[in-house]
Amino acid sequence: MYQAIVFLPLIGFLIAGLFGRVLGPRPSEIVTTAFLFIAALLAWITFFRVGIGGADTRVQLMHWIYVGDLKIDWALRIDTMTSIMLIVVTSVSSLVHLYSIGYMHEDPSRQRFFAYLSLFTFAMLMLVTADNLVQLFFGWEGVGLASYLLIGFWYEKPSANAAAMKAFVVNRVGDFGFMLGIFAVFVMTGAVNFDTVFAQAPGLAGKTIPFLGHHWDAPTVIAVLLFIGAMGKSAQFLLHTWLPDAMEGPTPVSALIHAATMVTAGVFMVARMSPIFELSRSALDLITIVGATTAMFAATVALVQNDIKKVIAYSTCSQLGYMFVAMGSGAYSIGMFHLLTHAFFKALLFLGAGSVIHAMHHEQDMRHMGGLYKKIPFTYGAMMIGTLAITGFPFLAGYYSKDAIIEAAYASHSHFSVYAYWMTVLAAALTSFYSWRLVFLTFHGQPHDHHHYDHAHESPLVMTIPLAVLSVGAVFGGIAFYNLFVGHDVESFFRHSIFMASDNHILHAMHEVPGWAAYLPTGMMVAGFAVAYWFYVVDRTVPVALAKSQDALYQFLLNKWYFDEIYNFLFVRPALWIGRTLWKKGDGMLIDGLGPNGISARVLDVTGQVVRLQTGYLYHYAFVMLVGVAALITWFMFAGV
């Protein structure tokens, strides 16, 4: 059964990828989607059997690499962590497959799209079922590849190609850290499979890694390096720049990869490696700072973006920051909880946005929308549910998971708990504001583009069904799983799949936070809603005037804190300059000039001279012969016989 979950998407990919042209688009769509739904069904069975029932297991597939001390198996690790990720990945993926049948119905290379989607799902499943770090890395790179292919799916668009490359390159930075982390784990424990590493983890405390004359604390080095990998994949502050650009890909891709699954791989990895992270307070502090900063930073940028997908992308970035705050606070289960609920409501928001874009004939600028709730009421309803869920409206999914994170931040013993708390609280207000802004700009007010507005139409059933299913998740996802992730059942639910040090009492402490701290996020949510309502429903001149009066701040936010410009100046242009110099001067002039081209040019010169010797005159020929003899005689006369 577990093999079927992992390999059905791979088979779907092979069928659609290899025979898609022969089969045609419709069979490819049906095969891949059907396989995914089967996998999703099996995943839910697994969740209840393993997560709730406690039937942890390990499925050995084969020996993978056996070199000296390095022994790596290919095995599926099925425990609670895996089962959570399995339902997230397969549920969202199957719904996105179904949704894409409608969304992509005009695209001539749909087979390729579905093949890539299934490939991504396979790689993501490899990642979450990994039994060791190398297998995890395989899935990690696999989803990176699929993400690259899907962002650049419309490869005739230069911006899509640039975005695909950017995603790939920025992820390389993180992956480099991740690889070093894996190497460090192997150096310190002599193994990469989780069981051995975790068994040896307590022994790492106090050990050091000598580097550049310093002795660095081993758990901290490993944890920080691994976290750098997570930062790249999960688009955390400083390595976030690729995620907004990744919106160049088709919207179902954004929903699946860049909201629900791949970007949460970093969160999953930190939770999975919790036995190591628990050993280093410094590393957890770093995670807290980066997470809180990302949550706040991305929320500020989302305030002023006009592209509907960019707003949701920055929202994703911000929510990932929340998850890392939970991780940094030691509340791994709560981070996983937010990962789960976020997957549902964020996929819902993206697919809803896709439905809007579909209705508006690929118009993405919210300034050109407005008043759409009359035209596409079902989408409007779904988006409302998603927005209520993400802003933390009571009893919806986000209310449970996000508020739990904020409470955990308050209760944590981290040195930065105050910073984390206030950042996440403020970000909650901003989240509420930009989410409602999106809804008001898109669905309320007067239509701005009458041509598109008049032709707007509700999406077909294959697109609305996924919205409905995800809406159910967004409404009930929090209340249904609260006890398993936050409440009394955490220990019996997660068992050994996450590790919390004996002095980590965060799950108890967070229930004892003062009342004001617990209710503040809800108040912030209301405040954000009120401001948004005032700005975009009551009086639309206010935000315009505000933007004018605070132009510097507005430009700063609109240009995303100028990160792209700074990176362009610091890294991209120097790299291009170095590349161009090495290419033109180093390779072109020096190596080619002195090497192949230079030598061949000299050869031709010599040839020209030699050929000119052959004059055709008899006396020249005779002369050359005599000169030859004379030269030999002379040689022997002077050099001796």
């Binding site: 050869v603 020209g608 050929v611 020249h620 050359v624 030999l632 005689i633 022997f636 016989v641």
Partner: protein, 476 residues
């Protein structure tokens, strides 16, 4: 009573060739021009028969005519290779002779006479026999070069070859007289006994004798005639020039160096090394500038002689074995290449530039494939025969400590690879030119055998290596 007759059994092939030449001349004289085909056929039969006789001779050394004639495994090997080249080049000329204006029975007779000279040259045991064989061979060649006497280019080629050949013969004779003067004998074995230390006179004699021999193998700087004569002479004649006489000249070069001058190796090694390097380098560089395929093959043969001389410079049994293997493989590859040149005819007229081969892969894929294999082999690319040929001479040079020579040789062969590969590139990647005329059956056969040998030689190289090894040991 001792026999007054010399031991004629050992020289049966030569006798056969001499008698054949006389009979063929008579047939031609009585029957006139129309006998050309008959004479040609009989000449081929005679050459083949002589070759069979050579191969049937016992593997022992026979000294006849008071030391003038040496029949040993070495001479048998070289004679067999030469006669093969001569016979095949005559087979290749059947079609050419069939055309009215070239129908001359003298051509076949001259080939037979030249082959007789070649056999005498290879078997020469002293300087007199050497000169006798050399001149018999060369005089025939001079006439053959200008056999197409209505063509300006052909007559010019013949004249140039004659004048320069005479000059080289003069040098050879002068060198021989110096050798005789300083050793008191013309016999190789006797010279070897006397010439135990290099003196100025002896070394000068060696220089002049070697200059004459270098002219015949067309080694730099005595090569200048080669491109002009190759280009000017009719193609079957060029094919003959490039094979049998080269083998004979190389054979006598090796024999003089190893048998007559074993104690002054250090001296003549310098000459051979210089000539070898000069030939390899010039052959590689000059061929790049050629557009005419025959001139290209001329420079190619200059380069190949340089590579073969690397083996001689080693002055060891392995080196000589390398030379012999090299010459055998060279003959086969060259015959195949010239078959292709002969097949380059459009509308009954021969075309000769490299560009005429454009797109041959599409018009005549099989011919292009074999020619490509031959070009790869000439360039020395593994695992083709040409690679093994180079491998053996370079191996010998390395074992003899001549690292510089081996390195220069490899570099030269890399440079040289360019023009061979360019031919392949033109055949396979350029836009097709007009297709060539059909290929006569005998050319197809020669090309096929040559191609198969070149491609598959590496599968079973032992017989040739062992025969060459036995031949080389006979000299030491």
């Amino acid at each position: 009573m001792p026999s007054v007759l010399p031991p004629l059994g050992a020289v049966l092939p030569e006798l056969l060739l001499a008698l054949s030449a006389i009979v063929l001349v008579l047939i031609g004289a009585f029957q006139g021009e129309k006998s050309a085909n008959l004479v040609n056929g009989l000449a081929i039969a005679a050459l083949v028969a002589a070759g069979v006789l050579v191969l049937l001779q016992p593997a022992i050394t026979v000294v006849g005519f008071h030391g003038s004639m040496l029949v040993d495994p070495f001479s048998r090997f070289m004679k067999a290779v030469s006669l093969l080249g001569a016979a095949v080049s005559l087979i290749m000329s059947v079609d050419w002779l069939g055309r009215a204006q070239q129908a001359r029975f003298e051509y076949a007779v001259l080939v037979v006479l030249s082959s007789l000279g070649i056999c005498i040259l290879i078997s020469a045991g002293d300087l007199i026999a050497l000169y006798l064989g050399l001149e018999l061979m060369s005089l025939s060649l001079y006439v053959m070069a200008s056999i197409n006497r209505d063509s300006v280019r052909s007559t010019e080629a013949g004249l140039k070859y004659f004048v320069l050949g005479s000059l080289s013969s003069g040098m050879l004779l002068y060198g021989s007289s110096l050798l005789y003067g300083f050793t008191g004998t013309v016999n190789f074995a006797e010279i070897a006994k006397v010439a135990t230390a290099p003196t100025n006179g002896l070394v000068f004699g060696i220089v002049f004798v070697f200059a004459g021999l270098c002219f015949k193998v067309s080694a730099v700087p005595f090569h200048m005639w080669t491109p002009d004569v190759y280009e000017g002479a009719p193609t079957p004649v060029t094919a003959f020039f490039a094979t049998a006489p080269k083998v004979a000249a190389m054979a006598v070069f090796v024999r003089v160096a190893i048998e007559a001058l074993p104690h002054v190796t250090h001296s003549w090694q310098q000459i051979v090394a210089f000539v070898s390097i000069a030939s390899m380098v010039l052959g590689a560089f000059a061929a790049i500038g050629q557009r005419n395929i025959k001139r290209l093959l001329a420079y190619s043969s200059i380069g190949h002689m340089g590579f073969a001389l690397v083996g001689l410079a080693a002055a060891t049994p392995q080196g000589v074995r390398g030379v012999l293997v090299y010459m055998a493989i060279y003959v086969v590859m060259t015959l195949g290449s010239f078959t292709c040149v002969l097949a380059m005819r459009r509308g009954g007229r021969p075309v000769e530039t490299v560009d005429d081969l454009a797109g041959l892969a599409r018009t005549r894929p099989l011919m292009a494939l074999v020619l490509a294999a031959l070009m790869f082999s000439l360039a020395g690319i593994p695992p083709l025969a040409g690679f093994l040929a180079k491998y053996y001479v370079f191996l010998a040079a390395i074992q003899a400590g001549l690292y510089g020579l081996a390195v220069i040789g490899v570099v030269a062969s890399v440079v040289g690879a360019y023009y061979y590969l360019r031919v392949v590139k033109i055949m396979y990647f350029d836009e097709p030119a007009e297709a060539f005329d059909g290929m006569p059956g005998e050319l197809k056969a020669v090309l096929g055998v040559s191609g198969l040998f070149t491609i598959f030689y590496f599968v079973y190289p032992a017989p040739l290596i062992e025969a060459a090894g036995a031949a080389a040991r006979a000299l030491f």
